[in-house]
């Protein structure tokens, strides 16, 4: 693309063709005021505050929408420009209340800033003033349309990025305002309360309710951390006031995978941190009633009881349950503690959303069923969602998908229902529960039949034959008969997917709930193999997880069979490596999964459980079974931020820290390692999970050096090759198993799981894709993988 040279305030600047004058000015650091400009939306040029003087142009031009032209000479701060901006501001003020003293936006308001800059005190354009009633009946957002300057950024983002379409411009002329259909309150509209509109509002028209009266902009400190909800791993700035409360949240437009966007949970879901039910002191159960005690006493008791169980029943009678929400360092330390005691009975609950067997989760993660780069989703030209309504599970990723779709990315969906309207799917293949695999097979069949093969498998005859065999008979007609999905739709999606240069497949844990589980995953990989694996960033298959640290919990060893970084506990070399580093002897026997621990606890073989930040009673499909098991334990210690249902069964409850109160890293679904920083003080006597485990280790007589959280990260980096070379100042994406670069390795791994995690539903009878016997690159790949294993 040819470059354009122009001059802005005397500075030469070169920009790409199609750039605006504003882009050029930003490039050389010249500031131009803007209200309506939004880099992620179509150019609007509505507010005119950005007008600049261009030599030889008849009138002033709007910098945000006027294209930069060759040899243009632009002046951004002449008398003429200043005068025009002054008039524009006075026109805006003609219909804008000057209640700055009570306005929540005071100190963080563009209108206020520009009026200050251009010397506008009030308006001399006197006339009628808008009177629109306040919309504040919902718990999150207050809309005061009397302060609205009609810049339209909220409308643009709501419709084009979030896809909720709750608001638009209503009426016209003097009475025009931003509102819902019929002027209904927000909660009666299609609003999803993501707060994106609040974040882009340049004035005080939209504000977060929780913030009202809780502190001025300059009294609120913003702390960047990682959102603790889904596995997208958004960066969020928590706004903490002088009373140590989170009063608001926002995101930086230039930071992280979310680039300034948050969903409802990440935007407003913070009040739990200062909830009155937080536990703030250790408690011991005496005659069925919890009594508060001091830490020394509590830790001593816990250590004593654990040691008692150990000497009476052996270390294998002790089980540990970690959380998929706490930090890597905490998970690592927790499993180190259990393993140092001699028990490999460690698991985490988040895993059970997609698998009951620890092998499945390890294989899915070890081989990295995340072969696409989600940050490049805007470069994909086709995206296939399988059983994934990401507007619910990963809303911010859905915003990115919507942006991509408006730029031409075709979106298709396979599932049991049409996804939410905010998902921009142009064609939805809807079938019954468990029949997704058949639909996927049908898509593969069309690609093979119409010879649209252009993925990795194009050069791998043996694999191609295997895939052909597996989808044999799955003609569009047959698939229509067994699933009800129209044959024409299957063909259209197959062609759309195969003809894309960068086609992406996304699935989440719902595939294990409403889809055919691992069989579907294999079909997705098969589909990617024939037409989706092209060595491009926005290709492949990506597994979207549920929790902020689902990946961390698995990779840091909160699984019974693997030490950190999938180093097999049954292998001598792995045990030696960790045993030496931890100065302990590691049990060679793979431990019990949570499911097994529950059964063994019922039978009296597990006597003691240590649960860190998890609530298996409310999180499990069999709460009664878990209750029976917990009741049968000799000793249960739970550390949590609330007295959860599980904690109520504990002999001792230890108060721990919420995400916003601690330092540590998390791994998002793509393998991005991100640092969460503390924004709040710990409530009462609570300690972080990290501190609790470290203290407990001391009381248990384990001779661990006193370590800072960052030191433990260093220890992880030295033992887990995936973290090699990383430190708190240089965080990166974890390195995947090198053999996992190829999808064949993943399929091989999945083959080894045949028969595990079978879905509890009727699926269409179909030959399973089997790759183990494939020849050529497959076998060499398998051999390579075995060689690579530590």
């Amino acid at each position: 693309m040819s470059a354009i040279n122009l001059t802005i305030d005397g500075q030469q600047v070169e920009v790409e063709q199609g750039s605006t004058i504003l882009d050029a000015a930003q490039k050389v650091g010249v500031e131009i005021p803007t209200f309506c400009h939004d880099p992620e939306l179509a150019r609007l040029g509505a507010c005119r505050i950005c007008v600049v003087e261009v030599e030889k142009a008849r009138a002033l031009v709007a910098a945000c929408s006027a294209p930069a032209g060759p040899d243009m000479v632009v002046h951004t701060d002449t008398d003429r420009v200043r005068k025009a901006r002054n008039i524009i501001l006075r026109l805006i003020l003609a219909n804008h209340s000057l209640e700055c003293i009570t306005c929540e936006k005071n100190g963080d308001c563009k209108l206020q800033d520009y009026c200050y800059q251009y010397g506008v005190e009030s308006s001399d354009f006197v006339g009628a003033v808008k009177e629109v009633p306040l919309d504040d009946t919902n718990p999150f957002i207050v809309r005061d349309m009397n302060k609205c300057i009609l810049c339209g950024r909220c409308v643009g983002r709501c419709q084009n990025i979030v896809g909720a379409g709750a608001i638009d411009f209503i009426n016209r002329g003097f009475t025009s305002n931003v509102g819902t259909a019929f002027g209904d309150p927000l909660e009666d509209s299609s609003c999803v309360f993501c707060g994106v509109c609040v974040d882009v509002c340049p004035v005080g028209a939209l504000s977060a309710k929780a913030r009202l009266g809780k502190g001025r902009a300059w009294e609120v400190e913003q702390v960047e951390t990682v959102c603790p909800y889904c596995a997208t791993g958004c960066k969020v700035d928590l706004h903490v006031n002088e009373d140590d409360e989170i009063v608001d949240a926002s995101a930086d437009e230039e930071v992280g995978i979310n680039q300034g966007k948050l969903c409802a949970r990440g935007r407003f879901g913070w009040d739990f941190t200062r909830h009155e039910h937080r536990i703030t002191k250790p408690m011991v159960k005496e005659d069925g009633v919890y009594v508060e005690i001091e830490w020394e006493e509590a830790l001593e008791m816990v250590a004593e009881r654990i040691q008692e169980v150990e000497s009476n029943f052996g270390a294998e009678a002790i089980g540990g349950l970690a959380s998929s929400r706490v930090t890597n360092e905490e998970i690592y330390l927790f499993q180190k503690l259990l393993r140092s005691l001699g028990s490999n009975n460690i698991d985490h609950l988040g895993r059970y959303r997609y698998s009951t067997s620890p092998q499945t989760s390890s294989v899915l993660f070890k081989s990295g069923v995340m072969t696409g780069d989600l940050q490049k989703i805007n470069e994909a030209d086709a995206v296939l969602l399988v059983n994934a309504d990401i507007s619910q599970s990963h809303p911010v990723l859905n915003y990115q998908l919507r942006s991509a779709a408006s730029n031409g990315t075709r979106v298709f969906s396979v599932g049991v229902e049409e996804p939410d309207v905010s998902v921009p799917a142009e064609r939805c293949l809807v079938s019954e529960v468990g029949k997704d695999q058949a639909v996927l097979n049908g898509i593969i069949n069309v690609i093979l039949e119409e010879n649209l093969i252009n993925g990795d498998a194009a050069n791998d005859k043996a694999t191609l034959e295997e895939i052909k065999k597996a989808v044999d008979g799955f003609t569009p007609k047959y698939v229509e008969d067994v699933t009800g999905v129209p044959a024409t739709d299957i063909k259209e999606v197959a062609r759309g997917y195969a003809n894309a240069e960068q086609p992406m497949i996304l699935f989440n844990t719902d595939t294990f709930r409403i889809g055919a589980g691992l069989k579907s995953v294999k079909a997705m990989l098969g589909l990617a193999a024939v037409a989706g694996m092209k060595g491009v960033p926005a290709g492949g298959v990506s597994f979207l997880q549920d929790y902020n640290n689902s990946l961390g919990a698995t990779i840091l060893g909160a699984v019974p069979n693997y030490l950190p970084n999938f180093q097999d506990v049954s292998e001598q070399s792995a045990r030696d490596k960790f045993g030496k580093a931890w100065e302990t002897e590691i049990n060679a026997q793979p431990g019990l999964s949570l499911k097994q621990m529950i059964e063994e606890a019922k039978d009296g073989n597990i006597q003691c459980m240590y649960i860190m930040g998890e609530d298996p009673i409310s999180g499990s499909e069999d709460p009664e079974g878990v209750k029976d098991a917990l009741e049968n334990l000799d000793f249960l210690v739970v550390q949590d931020i609330f007295l959860s249902e599980t904690a109520r069964y504990a002999d001792i409850v230890l108060p721990s820290a919420a995400f916003a109160e601690k330092l540590g890293t998390y791994i998002n679904q793509e393998g991005r390692v991100q640092l969460g920083t503390p924004a709040l003080d710990l409530p009462g006597d609570a300690m972080t999970d990290f501190e609790i485990v470290a203290h407990l280790a001391f009381y248990l007589g384990l001779d661990w050096p006193v370590l800072f959280v960052g030191d433990v990260f260093g220890e992880i980096a030295s033992l887990a090759p995936a973290f090699e070379g990383m430190s708190y100042v240089s965080l990166d994406k974890i390195k995947q198993d090198p053999s996992a670069d190829s999808w064949q390795a993943i399929l091989n791994d999945l083959d080894e799981l045949a028969g595990q995690d079978e879905p509890q539903m009727e699926t269409v009878e179909a030959a399973d894709l089997t790759y183990l016997h494939a020849k050529g690159s497959m076998t060499s790949c398998l051999a390579e993988m075995k060689k690579q294993q530590v």
Binding site: Q159, G165, D168, N171, R172, A181
Partner: protein, 154 residues
């Protein structure tokens, strides 16, 4: 009461560019745009209902409540003003007991004032549905309204 919009909608392809013709057809069918039509239209052409409502409220031609059988458009243009339409207009409002933009409780008349109906030679002038009445005086207004009290084919 749920209205059936199917008959109106199926005359269209369901494309976004058809929004205004669809709104016009619905109004033609029902006399105004009933509240439940917005969601139906929005779904049919695949845009949010807030946008359908936004477009409808932008144009003066769309109405959101039921209107009278007879729409009275009193001309408030310059020529009519000079010729004294104010008195005729006052009389009209008095007779109907309603203000500008309102509809009588029996849904017989809706009274509107418009900028100019382009019949200045007849000033002061008004239209009732498609019929034009010129050279208005308060007395003539009364006479005309009286004539509508009986069932008349408009």
């Amino acid at each position: 009461m749920s209205r059936d919009y199917q008959a109106v909608l199926e005359k269209f392809q369901g494309e976004q560019k058809e929004l205004i013709p669809i709104l016009q057809s619905v109004q033609e069918e029902f006399g105004y745009l009933p509240e439940d039509c917005f969601e139906k239209i929005a779904e049919y052409i695949g845009i949010p209902d807030s946008s359908v409502y936004g477009v409808a409220t932008f144009y003066a031609q769309f109405h959101f409540s039921p209107r009278g059988k007879y729409i009275i458009r009193m001309c408030r243009g310059t020529a009519c003003h000079v010729k004294g339409v104010s008195k005729a207009a006052d009389k009209m409002r008095e007779l109907l007991g309603i203000d500008v933009g309102e509809t009588t409780s029996d849904y017989k008349f809706t009274y509107e004032e418009v900028a100019c109906i382009g019949a200045c030679g007849l000033a002061p002038v008004m239209m009732i549905n498609d019929r034009t009445y010129g050279k208005l005086t308060p007395d003539k207004v009364e006479e005309i309204i009286e004539s509508y009290k009986e069932p008349v084919e408009a």
